[in-house]
C-alpha cells in the first residue's frame, strides 16, 4: 500500500484489527496490516470506512470461503515481513501451491476476487503446469469437468498438430472410431446390395442354367499362404467396441500389465510365435477340403479354372480392395469327410501343388505380360473356363452362388 493511501486513513480508522465476513456469513477478526495487503479490502477500509466493527464487517466476495481466507492471510502474513530474501519467498511460494487441484482452483478464484495479483499469478502458474501436456480427458478428470461435447465435436480432429505425439495418438484413435462407424454403415449397404445382386444372379441363372457367377470380389484373399495348402483363410471382422478412454488407458499402460514396457521389446518374438501358431492351425484347416456354399459343392480339384483363378489374384494379395474378407457361417463347413475320400483328395492336392510350383515362373511371366486383366471368371460344372459378356461388371458385395 502506498504512503498516500496511508495518509488518507483517519486516526479513528487506524485499528489493529478489521472484521471480515466470508461467503458462509461467518465473521472473523484479522490484523489490519495483513488484511490491507489485499487491494479490495484496502479500498473498503479507506474509501468506505468499513470493517471497524462486527456490525459493519467487510463483506468478502462469494468465492472467498473461510478456508481460502485463512490460506490467503497466511500468504499475506509471510510476504508482509520486509526482511525476507527472494530465495526464501520463492521457496515458500513453491510449498504454498503444493495443494490438491480443487483447492488450488478455489484459491485462484478467491485471490482473483480479492484482486491479490501476486497470488493469482502464483496459483495460475501452478495450474498451468498441471494442465500442460495433458489430453482433454485427463484435464476433465483433474478438474472434474463435464464431458458435454458431442461425439462429432470430440472426433473432429485437431488437424495437423503433428508436432505433439499425444495429439497424434488421439487423432489416430478418433480416426479408428470414425472408420468403424463408416464400416458399419457400409456393411448395411452391402447387405442390401448383396441381396439385390443375388436376386439378379438368380434371375440370370434361370436363363442360363449351366453358368454360375463368381465375381472378382468373391475370390477370397490368399493371405500369402504357401500354394501347397490351397486353403482359404476366413477371417471374422474384429470391431473394437472399447471407448476412447479405455483405449487411452490401455495405451498408457493402465491395464494392469506389469510388463507394459517390456512388451515392445519382445514384439518380434511374439510375432514369430503367432505366425507359427497360425501356420499350424492352417495345416489343420487344410484337412477341410470340401465346402458347401449356397447349396453347391465346391471341391478342391486340380481343374484348370481353379488354377488360373488362384494364380490370377496372387499379385493383388496385398490390395484389400480386390480381396474382401468373406464371412462364412460355421454351418457352411462340412467336417464329416470319409477317410478314404480325404486321402484321395490330399493326394490330388499334393499333385496339383507340385505341378503348380513347377511351372509358376512361366505363368507369372505370362500374367505380367498380359497386363493382369481383372475380369469376372465364370465356372461351368464341367470345369471349363468361360468369359461372360459382362466381364467388366463389378458386383458390389461378395456374392457366392
Amino acid at each position: 500500500m502506498s504512503e498516500i493511501d496511508l495518509a488518507v486513513i483517519k486516526p479513528e480508522m487506524m485499528k489493529l484489527y478489521v472484521w471480515l465476513q466470508t461467503s458462509d456469513d461467518s465473521i472473523q477478526q484479522v490484523e489490519q496490516e495483513i488484511a490491507m495487503f489485499c487491494p479490495l479490502i484496502c479500498q473498503e477500509i479507506i474509501q468506505k470506512g468499513m470493517g471497524s466493527s462486527k456490525s459493519c464487517a467487510i463483506c468478502l466476495p462469494q468465492q472467498v470461503s473461510p478456508a481460502m481466507l485463512s490460506l490467503i492471510l497466511d500468504y499475506c502474513r509471510f510476504h508482509q515481513v520486509p526482511g525476507r530474501s527472494n530465495k526464501e519467498r520463492k521457496s515458500y511460494d513453491e510449498k504454498f501451491v503444493r495443494i490438491d487441484t480443487e483447492r488450488l482452483c478455489e484459491l485462484t478464484s478467491a485471490a482473483d476476487s480479492l484482486q491479490l495479483k501476486p497470488l493469482v499469478d502464483l496459483t495460475s502458474r501452478a495450474l498451468a503446469r498441471i494442465i500442460e501436456g495433458k489430453t482433454p480427458e485427463e484435464i476433465r478428470d483433474i478438474f472434474h469437468l463435464p464431458d458435454d461435447l458431442t461425439e462429432e465435436e470430440k472426433l473432429e480432429p485437431l488437424r495437423n498438430i503433428t508436432a505433439d505425439p499425444r495429439i497424434r495418438l488421439l487423432n489416430r484413435l478418433y480416426a479408428k472410431k470414425r472408420k468403424e462407424l463408416k464400416e458399419r454403415e457400409r456393411l448395411k449397404l452391402y447387405i442390401v446390395l448383396g441381396l439385390a445382386a443375388q436376386f439378379f444372379c438368380f434371375f440370370y441363372q434361370s436363363c442360363q442354367t449351366q453358368v454360375s457367377i463368381s465375381s472378382v470380389a468373391s475370390i477370397p484373399k490368399m493371405h500369402h499362404q504357401p500354394l501347397t495348402k490351397l486353403n482359404v483363410e476366413v477371417e471374422e471382422e474384429h470391431v473394437d467396441e472399447r471407448s476412447v478412454d479405455d483405449l487411452l488407458s490401455f495405451i498408457n499402460g493402465n491395464d494392469g500389465d506389469p510388463k507394459g514396457v517390456k512388451t515392445s521389446k519382445n514384439k518380434k518374438k511374439n510375432r514369430r510365435k503367432k505366425e507359427q501358431q497360425k501356420s499350424s492351425s492352417l495345416k489343420e484347416e487344410s484337412e477341410l477340403n470340401k465346402k458347401e456354399v449356397n447349396g453347391h459343392d465346391i471341391r478342391h480339384q486340380s481343374s484348370e479354372a481353379e488354377r488360373i483363378s488362384e494364380t490370377l489374384y496372387l499379385p493383388y494379395a496385398d490390395d484389400d480392395t480386390f480381396s474382401p474378407k468373406v464371412e462364412f457361417d460355421d454351418g457352411d463347413i462340412d467336417d464329416e469327410i470319409d477317410p478314404a475320400l480325404k486321402e484321395k483328395i490330399d493326394r490330388e492336392v499334393e499333385d496339383f501343388a507340385r505341378r503348380l510350383n513347377s511351372d509358376w515362373p512361366e505363368r507369372m511371366q505370362e500374367l505380367l505380360s498380359s497386363g493382369q486383366e481383372r475380369e469376372t471368371i465364370l465356372f461351368t460344372t464341367d470345369g471349363f473356363l468361360r468369359r461372360h459378356a459382362w466381364s467388366n461388371c463389378i458386383v458390389p458385395y461378395p456374392v457366392n452362388l
Partner: protein, 321 residues
Amino acid sequence: MQILSLVDDQTVITASGVCRGWRDAIYFGLARLSLSWCSKSMNNLVLSLVPKFVKLQTLILRQDKPQLEDNAVETIAKCCHELQILDLSKSFKLTDHSLYELALGCRDLTKLNISGCSAFSDNALAYLASFCRKLKVLNLCGCVRAASDTALQAIGQYCNQLQSLNLGWCDNVGDVGVTTLAYGCPDLRIVDLCGCVRITDDSVIALATRCPHLRSLGLYYCKNITDRAMYSLAHSKVNNRMWGSVKGGNDEDGLRTLNISQCTALTPSAVQAVCDSFPSLHTCSGRHSLIMSGCLNLTSVHCACAVHAHRAFTTFPHPAH
C-alpha cells in the same frame, strides 16, 4: 484465460476440446496465438483453427520452410477483424492476393511482419498502406519487389503513426521513397536501411531533420553515405534539444543505435561529431551501439566514456552512465 496465457499454444488448442465452457471461453477469449511451432501443414491448421478464434489480436505464423498459402491469409482476414499484430515472415508462397485481403479485413493492424515474403509487389503494399492506417511497426526486410519508392510514398502518405520500419536489403528503395517517408511519418523511431545501396545523404538528412524521435538507424553497406549525412545527424540533436526543452523532453532522447558498417566514405571527424552529440552511442565493449565494422579509417572514433576511462584524473562518470 490467465491460466491459459501461461501455457504453450498446443495446450491451449487441446484445452479447447475439454468441455463446452472451456471451448467457448477459449474461442471467444483468446487474444494471442502462435502457430510457429507447427513444422508441417501450418496452412491447414490456420484454416481449421482461425475461424474459431474470432477475438484474436495477435497471430504469429513465423515459418522455417514456407507453408502458408493465400487461402489461409484470406481466412484470417475474413475472421479476425480485431487483429492488431500479424507475423507472416518467410511466407514465400503468398501472393498479392493476401495483402489485398488483409487490407480489406484487418484494418486495425498496428504491427505487420512480412519479411522474406518476396512475391509481394509494391502495388499490393501501397494498397495495404491505404487501408491499414494504424500501422506502427512494419518489417519489409527482403521484400525486394514490394519495397519500392512507390510503396514508401504510399506508406508516408497514409501510415502517419509509423514508428518502426525495416527495409533491410530492399535495394529498389531510393531517396524519393525514404524522404517521403520521413516527411509523412514524423514519429519514426527505428529505421533499418541495411543494404539499401541506392540511398544517399538526402535520405539521412530527411530522417535527421523530420524525425525528432529517431532512436535507431541502420545504414549498413550504404556506400553512398558521406560526412554530410553524419553532420546533419549531429546537428539534428541541437535542434531537437531546443524543441525538447519546450516540450519537456529528457536528455536521453536521440540516437541510441547507429550502424555505419561498410560505409567506407565516412571520415573520423564526422562520425566523432555524431558520437559526441548522442551520449547513448557507445564504442566501448559491452555497450556497443555505434557499429563501425569494416571502416578501417574510423578506428580513432571513441565514445565519451571510453575517453574518460583513459583519464586517470576523472572522478565522476559520464552522465550517460
